[in-house]
Amino acid sequence: MFDILLIILELSCIHVPLIFGAYISMSLMKVPDLSIEAAYVFGALVGARILIFCSGWPLVISFLLVSSMSLCAGAFVGLISSLLTTQAKIPPLLSSILTIGLFHGINQLMSRPSGYISLTNSSNVLNIFPYLPQHPELIMMILIALCFVMVNYLLFRTQLGHCFAIYGNNQQFFSFYGISTSYIFIAGIMISNALAGYAGFLSAQSTNFADGMMGIGKPLLCITALVLGKIFLGRYKKNITVLVAPLGIGCYFIIQQMLLQVGFNLKYFTAVQALLVLVVLTIAYRKKGAQSMNQLGV
Protein backbone atom coordinates (compact mmCIF):
# COMPACT_ATOMS: atom_id res chain seq x y z
CA MET A 1 0.00 0.00 0.00
CA PHE A 2 2.83 2.38 0.94
CA ASP A 3 4.56 1.60 -2.35
CA ILE A 4 1.41 2.50 -4.26
CA LEU A 5 1.23 5.79 -2.40
CA LEU A 6 4.84 6.50 -3.34
CA ILE A 7 4.09 5.71 -7.00
CA ILE A 8 1.06 8.02 -6.93
CA LEU A 9 3.11 10.76 -5.30
CA GLU A 10 5.98 10.45 -7.76
CA LEU A 11 3.75 10.35 -10.85
CA SER A 12 1.76 13.32 -9.55
CA CYS A 13 4.89 15.37 -8.88
CA ILE A 14 6.24 14.62 -12.36
CA HIS A 15 3.01 15.82 -13.96
CA VAL A 16 2.29 18.86 -11.76
CA PRO A 17 4.14 21.30 -14.09
CA LEU A 18 2.33 19.84 -17.11
CA ILE A 19 -1.09 20.27 -15.49
CA PHE A 20 -0.22 23.83 -14.47
CA GLY A 21 0.71 24.49 -18.09
CA ALA A 22 -2.60 23.06 -19.27
CA TYR A 23 -4.40 25.02 -16.56
CA ILE A 24 -3.01 28.28 -17.95
CA SER A 25 -3.74 27.58 -21.61
CA MET A 26 -6.82 25.38 -21.55
CA SER A 27 -8.55 26.51 -18.38
CA LEU A 28 -7.64 30.17 -17.85
CA MET A 29 -7.11 31.25 -21.46
CA LYS A 30 -9.56 28.68 -22.87
CA VAL A 31 -7.26 27.96 -25.78
CA PRO A 32 -7.31 24.38 -27.15
CA ASP A 33 -3.53 24.21 -26.97
CA LEU A 34 -2.54 20.68 -27.94
CA SER A 35 1.05 21.77 -28.50
CA ILE A 36 1.78 20.89 -24.87
CA GLU A 37 2.19 17.36 -26.24
CA ALA A 38 5.03 18.50 -28.51
CA ALA A 39 6.50 20.66 -25.73
CA TYR A 40 6.46 17.72 -23.29
CA VAL A 41 8.44 15.54 -25.71
CA PHE A 42 10.79 18.30 -26.87
CA GLY A 43 11.52 19.30 -23.26
CA ALA A 44 12.25 15.67 -22.41
CA LEU A 45 14.57 15.13 -25.39
CA VAL A 46 16.43 18.42 -24.91
CA GLY A 47 16.72 17.67 -21.18
CA ALA A 48 18.03 14.17 -21.93
CA ARG A 49 20.61 15.44 -24.42
CA ILE A 50 21.84 18.08 -21.96
CA LEU A 51 21.97 15.47 -19.18
CA ILE A 52 24.26 13.30 -21.29
CA PHE A 53 26.33 16.35 -22.22
CA CYS A 54 26.67 17.30 -18.54
CA SER A 55 27.88 13.86 -17.45
CA GLY A 56 30.44 14.24 -14.70
CA TRP A 57 29.53 17.84 -13.90
CA PRO A 58 28.47 18.82 -10.35
CA LEU A 59 24.84 17.76 -9.91
CA VAL A 60 23.60 21.21 -8.89
CA ILE A 61 25.00 22.82 -12.02
CA SER A 62 23.67 19.99 -14.22
CA PHE A 63 20.27 20.27 -12.55
CA LEU A 64 20.05 24.02 -13.06
CA LEU A 65 21.23 23.80 -16.66
CA VAL A 66 18.91 20.93 -17.58
CA SER A 67 15.98 22.59 -15.81
CA SER A 68 16.45 25.90 -17.61
CA MET A 69 17.04 24.24 -20.98
CA SER A 70 13.96 22.03 -20.75
CA LEU A 71 11.89 25.06 -19.76
CA CYS A 72 13.34 26.99 -22.72
CA ALA A 73 12.70 24.05 -25.07
CA GLY A 74 9.04 23.96 -24.03
CA ALA A 75 8.77 27.73 -24.32
CA PHE A 76 10.23 27.54 -27.83
CA VAL A 77 7.48 25.13 -28.86
CA GLY A 78 4.95 27.55 -27.37
CA LEU A 79 6.53 30.44 -29.23
CA ILE A 80 6.20 28.66 -32.58
CA SER A 81 2.61 27.67 -31.87
CA SER A 82 1.57 31.13 -30.67
CA LEU A 83 3.34 32.92 -33.53
CA LEU A 84 1.42 30.77 -35.99
CA THR A 85 -1.77 32.08 -34.39
CA THR A 86 -0.83 35.73 -33.85
CA GLN A 87 1.27 36.37 -36.95
CA ALA A 88 0.03 33.84 -39.52
CA LYS A 89 -3.57 34.17 -38.22
CA ILE A 90 -4.01 30.39 -38.03
CA PRO A 91 -6.68 29.36 -35.45
CA PRO A 92 -5.11 28.10 -32.18
CA LEU A 93 -6.29 24.50 -32.56
CA LEU A 94 -4.87 24.20 -36.07
CA SER A 95 -1.63 25.97 -35.15
CA SER A 96 -1.09 23.60 -32.23
CA ILE A 97 -1.72 20.59 -34.50
CA LEU A 98 0.76 21.99 -37.03
CA THR A 99 3.26 22.54 -34.20
CA ILE A 100 2.87 18.91 -33.10
CA GLY A 101 3.54 17.81 -36.68
CA LEU A 102 6.57 20.07 -37.01
CA PHE A 103 8.11 18.99 -33.73
CA HIS A 104 7.33 15.33 -34.36
CA GLY A 105 9.94 15.50 -37.12
CA ILE A 106 12.39 17.45 -34.97
CA ASN A 107 11.91 15.01 -32.08
CA GLN A 108 12.55 12.06 -34.39
CA LEU A 109 15.79 13.69 -35.48
CA MET A 110 16.78 14.32 -31.88
CA SER A 111 16.18 10.73 -30.80
CA ARG A 112 18.27 9.23 -33.62
CA PRO A 113 19.65 6.64 -34.22
CA SER A 114 17.82 4.29 -31.84
CA GLY A 115 14.55 6.22 -31.65
CA TYR A 116 15.03 6.96 -27.94
CA ILE A 117 17.62 8.48 -25.61
CA SER A 118 18.71 6.29 -22.73
CA LEU A 119 19.81 7.94 -19.49
CA THR A 120 20.86 4.78 -17.68
CA ASN A 121 24.53 5.76 -17.90
CA SER A 122 23.96 9.38 -16.84
CA SER A 123 23.85 10.65 -13.29
CA ASN A 124 20.42 11.42 -11.83
CA VAL A 125 20.33 15.18 -11.32
CA LEU A 126 17.37 14.82 -8.95
CA ASN A 127 19.74 13.24 -6.43
CA ILE A 128 21.03 16.63 -5.33
CA PHE A 129 20.46 15.65 -1.71
CA PRO A 130 22.09 12.17 -1.58
CA TYR A 131 22.49 12.40 2.20
CA LEU A 132 18.73 11.96 2.64
CA PRO A 133 18.21 8.44 4.09
CA GLN A 134 15.31 7.41 1.87
CA HIS A 135 13.81 8.43 -1.46
CA PRO A 136 16.07 11.43 -2.19
CA GLU A 137 14.75 11.63 -5.77
CA LEU A 138 11.12 11.63 -4.62
CA ILE A 139 11.80 14.32 -2.03
CA MET A 140 13.42 16.45 -4.72
CA MET A 141 10.37 15.94 -6.94
CA ILE A 142 8.05 16.96 -4.10
CA LEU A 143 10.14 20.09 -3.55
CA ILE A 144 9.99 20.89 -7.26
CA ALA A 145 6.22 20.36 -7.32
CA LEU A 146 5.78 22.62 -4.26
CA CYS A 147 7.97 25.17 -5.95
CA PHE A 148 5.69 25.11 -9.02
CA VAL A 149 2.59 25.48 -6.84
CA MET A 150 4.10 28.53 -5.17
CA VAL A 151 5.34 30.09 -8.42
CA ASN A 152 1.96 29.63 -10.05
CA TYR A 153 0.17 30.96 -6.96
CA LEU A 154 2.26 34.12 -7.27
CA LEU A 155 1.92 34.25 -11.08
CA PHE A 156 -1.88 34.19 -10.89
CA ARG A 157 -1.72 37.29 -8.71
CA THR A 158 0.34 39.35 -11.14
CA GLN A 159 -0.96 41.55 -13.94
CA LEU A 160 0.06 38.88 -16.45
CA GLY A 161 -1.71 36.13 -14.50
CA HIS A 162 -4.91 38.15 -14.39
CA CYS A 163 -4.58 38.79 -18.13
CA PHE A 164 -4.62 35.04 -18.83
CA ALA A 165 -7.98 34.79 -17.07
CA ILE A 166 -9.30 37.92 -18.82
CA TYR A 167 -8.24 36.40 -22.15
CA GLY A 168 -10.44 33.41 -21.41
CA ASN A 169 -13.34 35.66 -20.45
CA ASN A 170 -13.19 38.27 -23.22
CA GLN A 171 -10.41 38.27 -25.83
CA GLN A 172 -11.50 41.64 -27.20
CA PHE A 173 -11.03 43.32 -23.83
CA PHE A 174 -7.37 44.24 -24.29
CA SER A 175 -7.78 46.19 -27.52
CA PHE A 176 -9.95 48.82 -25.77
CA TYR A 177 -7.31 49.66 -23.17
CA GLY A 178 -4.15 49.66 -25.28
CA ILE A 179 -3.01 46.25 -23.98
CA SER A 180 -1.31 43.98 -26.50
CA THR A 181 -3.53 40.92 -27.09
CA SER A 182 -0.78 39.14 -29.07
CA TYR A 183 1.67 39.62 -26.20
CA ILE A 184 -0.79 38.09 -23.72
CA PHE A 185 -1.44 35.14 -26.01
CA ILE A 186 2.24 34.50 -26.76
CA ALA A 187 3.25 34.87 -23.09
CA GLY A 188 0.48 32.49 -21.94
CA ILE A 189 1.21 29.78 -24.48
CA MET A 190 4.98 30.06 -23.94
CA ILE A 191 4.66 29.72 -20.15
CA SER A 192 2.19 26.87 -20.56
CA ASN A 193 4.50 24.99 -22.94
CA ALA A 194 7.60 25.75 -20.85
CA LEU A 195 5.93 24.00 -17.91
CA ALA A 196 5.03 21.05 -20.15
CA GLY A 197 8.65 20.87 -21.32
CA TYR A 198 9.84 20.74 -17.73
CA ALA A 199 7.41 17.91 -16.93
CA GLY A 200 8.89 16.07 -19.92
CA PHE A 201 12.36 16.37 -18.43
CA LEU A 202 11.15 15.12 -15.01
CA SER A 203 9.53 12.16 -16.70
CA ALA A 204 12.66 11.38 -18.72
CA GLN A 205 14.80 11.58 -15.59
CA SER A 206 12.41 9.40 -13.63
CA THR A 207 12.14 6.66 -16.29
CA ASN A 208 15.73 7.07 -17.49
CA PHE A 209 14.77 7.42 -21.10
CA ALA A 210 13.09 9.81 -23.52
CA ASP A 211 11.53 9.06 -26.88
CA GLY A 212 9.48 10.81 -29.51
CA MET A 213 6.22 9.07 -28.54
CA MET A 214 6.18 9.84 -24.83
CA GLY A 215 3.74 12.74 -25.27
CA ILE A 216 0.89 10.72 -26.75
CA GLY A 217 -2.29 11.12 -24.70
CA LYS A 218 -0.95 13.97 -22.57
CA PRO A 219 -3.62 16.53 -23.61
CA LEU A 220 -6.37 14.12 -22.52
CA LEU A 221 -4.49 13.41 -19.28
CA CYS A 222 -4.38 17.19 -18.64
CA ILE A 223 -8.07 17.68 -19.36
CA THR A 224 -9.02 14.74 -17.12
CA ALA A 225 -6.84 16.01 -14.27
CA LEU A 226 -8.25 19.54 -14.60
CA VAL A 227 -11.81 18.23 -14.63
CA LEU A 228 -11.12 16.13 -11.53
CA GLY A 229 -9.42 19.07 -9.81
CA LYS A 230 -12.36 21.33 -10.55
CA ILE A 231 -14.83 18.77 -9.23
CA PHE A 232 -12.96 18.69 -5.92
CA LEU A 233 -12.44 22.44 -5.65
CA GLY A 234 -15.50 23.63 -7.52
CA ARG A 235 -17.42 24.72 -4.44
CA TYR A 236 -14.58 26.55 -2.78
CA LYS A 237 -13.40 30.09 -3.18
CA LYS A 238 -11.49 31.22 -6.24
CA ASN A 239 -8.32 32.07 -4.35
CA ILE A 240 -7.37 28.41 -3.87
CA THR A 241 -7.89 27.33 -7.45
CA VAL A 242 -4.12 27.10 -7.72
CA LEU A 243 -4.72 23.69 -6.10
CA VAL A 244 -6.81 22.51 -9.07
CA ALA A 245 -3.69 21.22 -10.85
CA PRO A 246 -1.98 19.29 -8.00
CA LEU A 247 -5.23 17.88 -6.61
CA GLY A 248 -6.50 16.99 -10.06
CA ILE A 249 -3.40 15.05 -11.04
CA GLY A 250 -3.30 13.40 -7.61
CA CYS A 251 -6.88 12.16 -8.07
CA TYR A 252 -6.06 11.04 -11.59
CA PHE A 253 -3.27 8.76 -10.47
CA ILE A 254 -5.21 7.51 -7.43
CA ILE A 255 -7.99 6.38 -9.79
CA GLN A 256 -5.46 4.90 -12.19
CA GLN A 257 -3.66 2.93 -9.47
CA MET A 258 -6.95 1.76 -7.92
CA LEU A 259 -8.07 0.41 -11.29
CA LEU A 260 -4.71 -1.29 -11.68
CA GLN A 261 -5.11 -2.92 -8.27
CA VAL A 262 -8.47 -4.43 -9.21
CA GLY A 263 -6.93 -5.93 -12.31
CA PHE A 264 -7.99 -3.34 -14.88
CA ASN A 265 -5.89 -3.38 -18.04
CA LEU A 266 -4.42 0.12 -18.33
CA LYS A 267 -4.43 0.01 -22.11
CA TYR A 268 -8.15 0.84 -21.81
CA PHE A 269 -7.55 3.66 -19.36
CA THR A 270 -7.63 6.33 -22.09
CA ALA A 271 -11.20 5.31 -22.87
CA VAL A 272 -12.07 5.63 -19.16
CA GLN A 273 -10.60 9.16 -19.11
CA ALA A 274 -12.56 10.17 -22.19
CA LEU A 275 -15.79 8.75 -20.70
CA LEU A 276 -15.17 10.51 -17.39
CA VAL A 277 -14.60 13.89 -19.06
CA LEU A 278 -17.64 13.35 -21.27
CA VAL A 279 -19.93 12.51 -18.33
CA VAL A 280 -18.69 15.44 -16.20
CA LEU A 281 -19.02 17.98 -19.00
CA THR A 282 -22.47 16.69 -20.00
CA ILE A 283 -23.73 16.90 -16.41
CA ALA A 284 -22.23 20.36 -15.93
CA TYR A 285 -23.75 21.59 -19.19
CA ARG A 286 -27.19 20.23 -18.33
CA LYS A 287 -27.07 21.69 -14.83
CA LYS A 288 -25.77 25.19 -15.45
CA GLY A 289 -25.42 25.72 -19.19
CA ALA A 290 -22.30 26.59 -21.15
CA GLN A 291 -21.15 29.10 -18.51
CA SER A 292 -20.36 26.25 -16.12
CA MET A 293 -17.43 25.34 -18.37
CA ASN A 294 -15.74 28.60 -17.51
CA GLN A 295 -12.90 28.46 -15.04
CA LEU A 296 -11.42 31.64 -13.70
CA GLY A 297 -8.85 30.59 -11.17
CA VAL A 298 -7.60 34.02 -10.16
Binding site: R157, T158, A165, N169, N170, F173, G178, I179, N294, L296
Partner: protein, 244 residues
Amino acid sequence: MDNNYCLRLENLSFRFSPASPHFFKNIEIEFSPHKLNFIQGKNGSGKSTLFRIMQGQIAPQEEISGVFHFNDQIFTITNNESSNRSFGSSVALVHQNVTVMIADQFTFEQNLQYAAMPKYPGLSALSKLKSLPPFVETLGLDYAKPVDRMSGGQKQILAILMALQKDTRILLLDEPTAALDEKNANLIMHFLQELAKTTNILIIIISHDQQLMSSYKELSAFFLVEEDVKSKERRVKRVDKELF
Protein backbone atom coordinates in the same frame (compact mmCIF):
# COMPACT_ATOMS: atom_id res chain seq x y z
CA MET B 1 -12.50 74.30 -13.20
CA ASP B 2 -10.55 75.25 -16.34
CA ASN B 3 -12.41 76.50 -19.40
CA ASN B 4 -9.42 75.83 -21.63
CA TYR B 5 -10.60 72.27 -21.94
CA CYS B 6 -12.67 73.02 -25.03
CA LEU B 7 -11.81 71.20 -28.24
CA ARG B 8 -11.69 73.16 -31.50
CA LEU B 9 -11.38 71.37 -34.81
CA GLU B 10 -10.13 73.79 -37.46
CA ASN B 11 -9.99 73.34 -41.26
CA LEU B 12 -10.60 69.63 -40.92
CA SER B 13 -10.60 67.93 -44.30
CA PHE B 14 -10.86 64.22 -44.87
CA ARG B 15 -11.34 61.79 -47.73
CA PHE B 16 -11.26 58.02 -47.91
CA SER B 17 -8.62 57.99 -50.68
CA PRO B 18 -6.74 60.61 -52.70
CA ALA B 19 -8.97 59.80 -55.68
CA SER B 20 -12.29 60.09 -53.83
CA PRO B 21 -14.17 63.38 -53.22
CA HIS B 22 -13.82 65.12 -49.87
CA PHE B 23 -15.96 63.66 -47.10
CA PHE B 24 -15.27 66.59 -44.78
CA LYS B 25 -13.89 69.82 -46.26
CA ASN B 26 -12.57 72.62 -44.06
CA ILE B 27 -15.10 72.02 -41.31
CA GLU B 28 -14.91 73.88 -38.00
CA ILE B 29 -16.37 72.57 -34.74
CA GLU B 30 -15.97 73.67 -31.15
CA PHE B 31 -16.96 71.29 -28.40
CA SER B 32 -17.56 72.83 -24.99
CA PRO B 33 -16.20 71.67 -21.65
CA HIS B 34 -18.53 71.01 -18.68
CA LYS B 35 -21.37 70.26 -21.08
CA LEU B 36 -22.69 67.21 -22.83
CA ASN B 37 -21.86 67.64 -26.53
CA PHE B 38 -24.44 65.70 -28.51
CA ILE B 39 -23.83 64.79 -32.16
CA GLN B 40 -26.77 63.80 -34.30
CA GLY B 41 -27.14 62.80 -37.90
CA LYS B 42 -28.60 60.19 -40.19
CA ASN B 43 -26.96 56.82 -40.68
CA GLY B 44 -23.89 57.23 -42.87
CA SER B 45 -23.74 60.97 -42.26
CA GLY B 46 -20.22 60.70 -40.83
CA LYS B 47 -20.64 60.68 -37.04
CA SER B 48 -18.58 57.54 -36.57
CA THR B 49 -15.95 58.75 -39.07
CA LEU B 50 -15.63 61.93 -37.01
CA PHE B 51 -15.08 59.82 -33.88
CA ARG B 52 -12.52 57.72 -35.73
CA ILE B 53 -10.63 60.85 -36.80
CA MET B 54 -10.60 62.13 -33.21
CA GLN B 55 -9.16 58.80 -32.05
CA GLY B 56 -6.36 59.13 -34.61
CA GLN B 57 -7.40 55.97 -36.43
CA ILE B 58 -6.58 56.90 -40.00
CA ALA B 59 -6.09 54.15 -42.60
CA PRO B 60 -2.98 54.45 -44.82
CA GLN B 61 -5.00 55.20 -47.98
CA GLU B 62 -7.08 57.92 -46.29
CA GLU B 63 -6.16 61.59 -46.55
CA ILE B 64 -6.59 64.01 -43.70
CA SER B 65 -5.53 67.53 -42.74
CA GLY B 66 -6.54 69.98 -40.06
CA VAL B 67 -5.64 71.53 -36.74
CA PHE B 68 -7.01 70.53 -33.35
CA HIS B 69 -6.82 72.97 -30.45
CA PHE B 70 -7.16 71.39 -27.03
CA ASN B 71 -6.05 72.46 -23.57
CA ASP B 72 -3.70 75.20 -24.86
CA GLN B 73 -2.09 72.71 -27.20
CA ILE B 74 -2.18 72.67 -30.99
CA PHE B 75 -2.18 69.35 -32.82
CA THR B 76 -1.58 69.46 -36.56
CA ILE B 77 -3.45 66.49 -37.95
CA THR B 78 -1.92 64.92 -41.03
CA ASN B 79 -1.41 61.42 -42.38
CA ASN B 80 1.61 61.25 -40.13
CA GLU B 81 0.66 58.55 -37.62
CA SER B 82 2.64 59.95 -34.71
CA SER B 83 0.89 63.34 -34.70
CA ASN B 84 -2.52 61.65 -34.81
CA ARG B 85 -1.52 59.23 -32.09
CA SER B 86 -0.36 61.97 -29.73
CA PHE B 87 -3.82 63.50 -29.85
CA GLY B 88 -5.62 60.14 -29.97
CA SER B 89 -3.88 59.00 -26.79
CA SER B 90 -6.02 61.39 -24.76
CA VAL B 91 -9.24 60.18 -26.40
CA ALA B 92 -11.29 57.16 -25.30
CA LEU B 93 -14.32 55.67 -26.99
CA VAL B 94 -17.10 53.85 -25.16
CA HIS B 95 -18.93 51.55 -27.54
CA GLN B 96 -22.66 51.08 -27.81
CA ASN B 97 -22.21 47.42 -26.82
CA VAL B 98 -20.20 47.73 -23.60
CA THR B 99 -20.09 43.98 -22.96
CA VAL B 100 -17.09 43.74 -25.31
CA MET B 101 -15.26 46.30 -23.15
CA ILE B 102 -15.59 44.52 -19.82
CA ALA B 103 -14.53 41.19 -18.33
CA ASP B 104 -17.91 40.33 -16.89
CA GLN B 105 -16.85 37.42 -14.67
CA PHE B 106 -14.73 39.73 -12.56
CA THR B 107 -15.77 42.36 -10.07
CA PHE B 108 -16.38 46.05 -10.69
CA GLU B 109 -13.15 46.93 -8.89
CA GLN B 110 -11.05 44.34 -10.73
CA ASN B 111 -12.29 45.62 -14.08
CA LEU B 112 -11.19 49.14 -13.17
CA GLN B 113 -7.75 47.80 -12.21
CA TYR B 114 -7.51 45.79 -15.44
CA ALA B 115 -8.29 48.85 -17.57
CA ALA B 116 -5.30 50.65 -16.02
CA MET B 117 -2.79 47.95 -16.99
CA PRO B 118 0.12 48.88 -19.30
CA LYS B 119 0.52 47.71 -22.90
CA TYR B 120 2.72 44.82 -21.80
CA PRO B 121 1.49 43.62 -18.37
CA GLY B 122 4.30 42.15 -16.33
CA LEU B 123 4.86 40.30 -13.10
CA SER B 124 3.95 43.20 -10.83
CA ALA B 125 0.75 43.24 -8.81
CA LEU B 126 -2.36 45.02 -10.05
CA SER B 127 -2.17 48.74 -9.46
CA LYS B 128 -4.31 50.32 -6.77
CA LEU B 129 -7.63 51.75 -7.81
CA LYS B 130 -7.34 55.31 -9.09
CA SER B 131 -9.52 57.75 -7.23
CA LEU B 132 -12.90 58.02 -8.88
CA PRO B 133 -14.90 61.26 -9.27
CA PRO B 134 -16.50 61.99 -5.85
CA PHE B 135 -20.10 61.75 -7.10
CA VAL B 136 -19.52 58.07 -8.05
CA GLU B 137 -19.73 57.27 -4.32
CA THR B 138 -23.33 58.49 -4.28
CA LEU B 139 -24.38 55.95 -6.90
CA GLY B 140 -24.19 53.13 -4.36
CA LEU B 141 -22.24 50.76 -6.59
CA ASP B 142 -20.95 47.55 -5.04
CA TYR B 143 -17.32 47.37 -6.12
CA ALA B 144 -16.98 43.75 -5.02
CA LYS B 145 -19.92 42.55 -7.12
CA PRO B 146 -19.20 40.47 -10.25
CA VAL B 147 -20.11 42.54 -13.29
CA ASP B 148 -22.35 39.86 -14.82
CA ARG B 149 -24.76 40.45 -11.92
CA MET B 150 -25.03 44.19 -12.59
CA SER B 151 -27.67 46.10 -14.53
CA GLY B 152 -27.07 47.45 -18.03
CA GLY B 153 -26.78 50.99 -16.67
CA GLN B 154 -24.20 49.97 -14.07
CA LYS B 155 -22.19 48.15 -16.75
CA GLN B 156 -22.29 51.29 -18.88
CA ILE B 157 -21.01 53.37 -15.94
CA LEU B 158 -18.25 50.82 -15.40
CA ALA B 159 -17.24 50.99 -19.08
CA ILE B 160 -17.07 54.79 -18.86
CA LEU B 161 -14.99 54.69 -15.67
CA MET B 162 -12.71 52.09 -17.26
CA ALA B 163 -12.23 54.33 -20.28
CA LEU B 164 -11.13 57.09 -17.88
CA GLN B 165 -8.42 54.98 -16.24
CA LYS B 166 -5.69 56.03 -18.68
CA ASP B 167 -5.34 59.83 -18.64
CA THR B 168 -8.37 60.29 -20.83
CA ARG B 169 -9.23 63.95 -21.52
CA ILE B 170 -11.85 63.45 -24.21
CA LEU B 171 -14.57 60.84 -23.82
CA LEU B 172 -16.50 59.71 -26.90
CA LEU B 173 -19.71 57.77 -26.41
CA ASP B 174 -21.49 56.00 -29.24
CA GLU B 175 -25.20 55.85 -28.40
CA PRO B 176 -24.66 55.02 -24.72
CA THR B 177 -28.38 54.69 -23.94
CA ALA B 178 -29.50 52.80 -27.06
CA ALA B 179 -29.71 49.41 -25.36
CA LEU B 180 -31.05 50.66 -22.02
CA ASP B 181 -34.51 51.13 -20.55
CA GLU B 182 -35.67 54.60 -19.49
CA LYS B 183 -34.53 54.24 -15.88
CA ASN B 184 -31.02 53.12 -16.81
CA ALA B 185 -30.80 55.69 -19.62
CA ASN B 186 -31.52 58.45 -17.11
CA LEU B 187 -28.96 56.96 -14.71
CA ILE B 188 -26.31 57.19 -17.44
CA MET B 189 -27.29 60.71 -18.50
CA HIS B 190 -27.24 61.89 -14.89
CA PHE B 191 -23.85 60.23 -14.44
CA LEU B 192 -22.44 61.88 -17.60
CA GLN B 193 -23.81 65.27 -16.60
CA GLU B 194 -22.14 65.02 -13.20
CA LEU B 195 -18.93 63.88 -14.88
CA ALA B 196 -19.02 66.89 -17.23
CA LYS B 197 -19.81 69.30 -14.40
CA THR B 198 -17.26 68.10 -11.88
CA THR B 199 -14.28 67.14 -14.06
CA ASN B 200 -12.33 68.61 -16.98
CA ILE B 201 -13.17 65.66 -19.21
CA LEU B 202 -14.72 66.72 -22.50
CA ILE B 203 -17.72 64.54 -23.32
CA ILE B 204 -19.02 64.00 -26.85
CA ILE B 205 -22.01 61.74 -27.40
CA ILE B 206 -23.62 60.33 -30.51
CA SER B 207 -27.32 60.00 -29.79
CA HIS B 208 -30.59 59.70 -31.65
CA ASP B 209 -32.83 59.89 -28.59
CA GLN B 210 -34.43 63.33 -29.00
CA GLN B 211 -36.62 62.96 -25.91
CA LEU B 212 -33.70 62.07 -23.68
CA MET B 213 -31.53 64.87 -25.09
CA SER B 214 -34.27 67.43 -24.54
CA SER B 215 -34.35 66.47 -20.84
CA TYR B 216 -30.71 67.52 -20.55
CA LYS B 217 -30.72 70.50 -22.92
CA GLU B 218 -29.80 73.07 -20.24
CA LEU B 219 -26.27 71.81 -19.90
CA SER B 220 -25.73 70.52 -23.39
CA ALA B 221 -24.51 71.54 -26.83
CA PHE B 222 -26.01 70.00 -29.95
CA PHE B 223 -24.34 69.37 -33.29
CA LEU B 224 -25.78 68.03 -36.52
CA VAL B 225 -23.73 66.16 -39.12
CA GLU B 226 -25.42 66.31 -42.53
CA GLU B 227 -24.66 65.72 -46.15
CA ASP B 228 -24.61 68.58 -48.63
CA VAL B 229 -26.90 67.47 -51.44
CA LYS B 230 -24.79 69.04 -54.21
CA SER B 231 -21.21 68.44 -53.16
CA LYS B 232 -21.88 65.30 -51.08
CA GLU B 233 -19.52 66.75 -48.50
CA ARG B 234 -20.44 66.45 -44.83
CA ARG B 235 -20.99 69.52 -42.73
CA VAL B 236 -21.19 69.89 -38.99
CA LYS B 237 -23.18 72.71 -37.48
CA ARG B 238 -24.29 73.65 -34.02
CA VAL B 239 -28.06 73.40 -33.72
CA ASP B 240 -28.89 74.29 -30.09
CA LYS B 241 -31.57 76.79 -31.05
CA GLU B 242 -33.03 75.01 -34.05
CA LEU B 243 -33.45 71.72 -32.24
CA PHE B 244 -35.77 72.56 -29.36
